[in-house]
């Protein structure tokens, strides 16, 4: 197993095999489920996770989010996305796609 690298705007994150996204009608939120645990995602976080398919770079994910939440400064969106993804990577819930 290789060392996890820091998430950068060139990374192509992918949701780890152990994690699975599902809609929760009771809270009207997406849940990211993994063994014995789950995270209740806010709508922005759910948007990011849904783009973690290994196809999009973090830079592209930021672009999409910045376009959707146009009232927020792009720098703010970028900072929040990077912080969130670093946190998810620490928990082993996303990986970088290895080609």
């Amino acid at each position: 197993m290789s060392e996890p690298r820091a998430i950068t705007s060139e990374s192509r994150p992918i949701v780890a095999p152990k994690a699975r996204l599902r809609w929760d009608a009771r809270t009207s939120r997406h849940l990211l489920l993994y063994p014995e645990r789950g995270l209740i995602l806010n709508p922005t976080a759910a948007d990011v996770i849904q783009l973690c398919t290994g196809e999009h770079t973090v830079g592209e994910i930021v672009e999409r989010l910045a376009a959707k939440y146009a009232q927020e400064p792009r720098e703010t969106v970028e900072r929040e996305v990077l912080t969130f993804l670093a946190n998810m990577a620490d928990r082993g819930l996303i990986h970088e796609r290895h080609d």
């Binding site: 197993m1 996890p4 780890a16 095999p17 152990k18 699975r20 599902r22 929760d24 009771r26 849940l31 489920l33 993994y34 063994p35 014995e36 789950g38 990577a89 620490d90 928990r91 082993g92």
Partner: protein, 364 residues
């Protein structure tokens, strides 16, 4: 706290039968008296009702769930409800073909128990020669691209091997390693003299785990669960009684924890007689220790009561004879001397083991 109780996890104990005879098994001592009364359709109904209540996590456990030949249908049914389905297994009765089939049907995670880092150590604890088999099963799991949890129950005979346990889990490319210290209920209470570690052992192992957690961050989740006996504050058992978990036993009893039916004077309902929703909301057993009204002092006025929910009711009963007593694991409990005495015992030479057996209910 006014938060509405919502079960997130259903622990489905689909059978108490098991090829292993672990000396710390958490199944009840009279497990052999309980048959697998719930059939396939019963379990599928239980899953559906659980999902309606808010459950999103399903633990298929036992005993050994692979001993049920309808496990495929249970996994398929769980996945149709979008439940995150975790198979908790000894690995012993598994074939690679069956595992591949379970994966195709939607199984999300496999948790394999390992008893120690050597075949001899494992056999001594489980009463079964299965160490190599378990490693093979773990490799199948990863080979099929599935996430793997390795669970190791810790006690005085293997706590000093924690570094090797971590290395073994790494070599298996486990996604999650649960280093779960024995909780002294069920068979483990019977065998407490043999299993309870010293504080020195525990502290050393915890430090090894802490360093591994940092080193492996992002690759392998390393969990270290401290035993209550050395915690000074009680654990938030099941995240609070009737608050987050539903347990259904092989014979259909619906419980707030897997040992709740060992408490006298409580009545629990059966999933064949009432819906899970009715039981969760209204059954006397679930209401007994939900919230704070039942709490004695010093719990009632303790600021930690919203963190530990009063600790473990089963531990309170099995150590003090009173299920409403403050958990003796708490250093503020009037009966905490019971825990201190057990720790003293841990400094003495070890004693003989009692293997889980079907006749133990008649008195060991």
């Amino acid at each position: 706290m006014t938060e509405e109780p919502r079960p997130y996890t259903l622990v489905a104990e689909v059978t108490y039968r098991c090829p292993l005879r672990c000396v710390y098994c958490s199944n009840p001592l009279d497990w052999a008296r309980h048959g697998d009364a719930l059939g396939t359709d019963d379990w599928l109904r239980v899953f559906r009702q659980a999902e309606e209540l808010g459950v999103v996590q399903l633990n298929l456990t036992g005993g050994e769930p692979l001993l049920r030949d309808d496990l495929e249908r249970l996994v398929e049914g769980a996945r149709a409800l979008d439940l995150y389905t975790n198979l908790i297994t000894s690995g012993v009765p598994l074939t690679r073909d069956r595992l591949a089939r379970l994966k195709t049907l939607g199984l999300d995670n496999v948790q394999v128990s390992i008893q120690d880092v050597t075949a001899a150590g494992s056999e001594r604890i489980s009463g079964h020669r299965s160490f190599e088999r378990k490693l093979e099963v773990a490799r199948w799991v990863k080979g099929l691209g599935m996430p793997l949890t390795v669970n190791v129950v810790l006690h005085r005979e293997n706590l000093d091997h924690v570094a090797d346990v971590i290395a073994l889990a790494e070599s298996l490319a486990a996604d999650r390693l649960e280093l779960a210290n024995t909780q002294y209920l069920g068979w483990a209470l019977t065998n407490r003299r043999m299993l309870l570690p010293t504080r020195e052992q525990l502290d050393a192992a915890r430090e090894v785990a802490r360093q591994a957690r940092r080193r492996l961050r992002g690759r392998m989740e390393v969990l270290f669960v401290t035993p209550d006996y050395y915690a000074e504050v009680p654990k938030a058992c099941m995240d609070g009684w009737g608050r987050r978990f539903l347990v259904v036993t092989p014979d259909g009893l619906v419980l707030p924890c897997h040992a709740a039916h060992t408490l006298p004077g409580l009545t629990f309902d059966n999933a064949r007689d009432r819906s899970l929703g009715d039981i969760w909301r209204d059954s006397a057993g679930f209401r007994a220790f939900r919230g704070e009204a039942w709490m004695p002092e010093p719990c009632r006025s303790c600021e930690r009561r919203t963190l530990d929910f009063g600790g473990c009711r089963c531990q309170a009963y099995h150590l003090t004879g009173d299920a409403t007593a403050t958990d003796p694991a708490c250093s503020l409990a009037p009966t905490h001397a019971l825990i201190e005495a057990a720790r003293e015992e841990a400094l003495a030479p070890r004693s003989e083991v009692v293997y889980r057996a079907s006749h133990a209910a008649d008195g060991v």
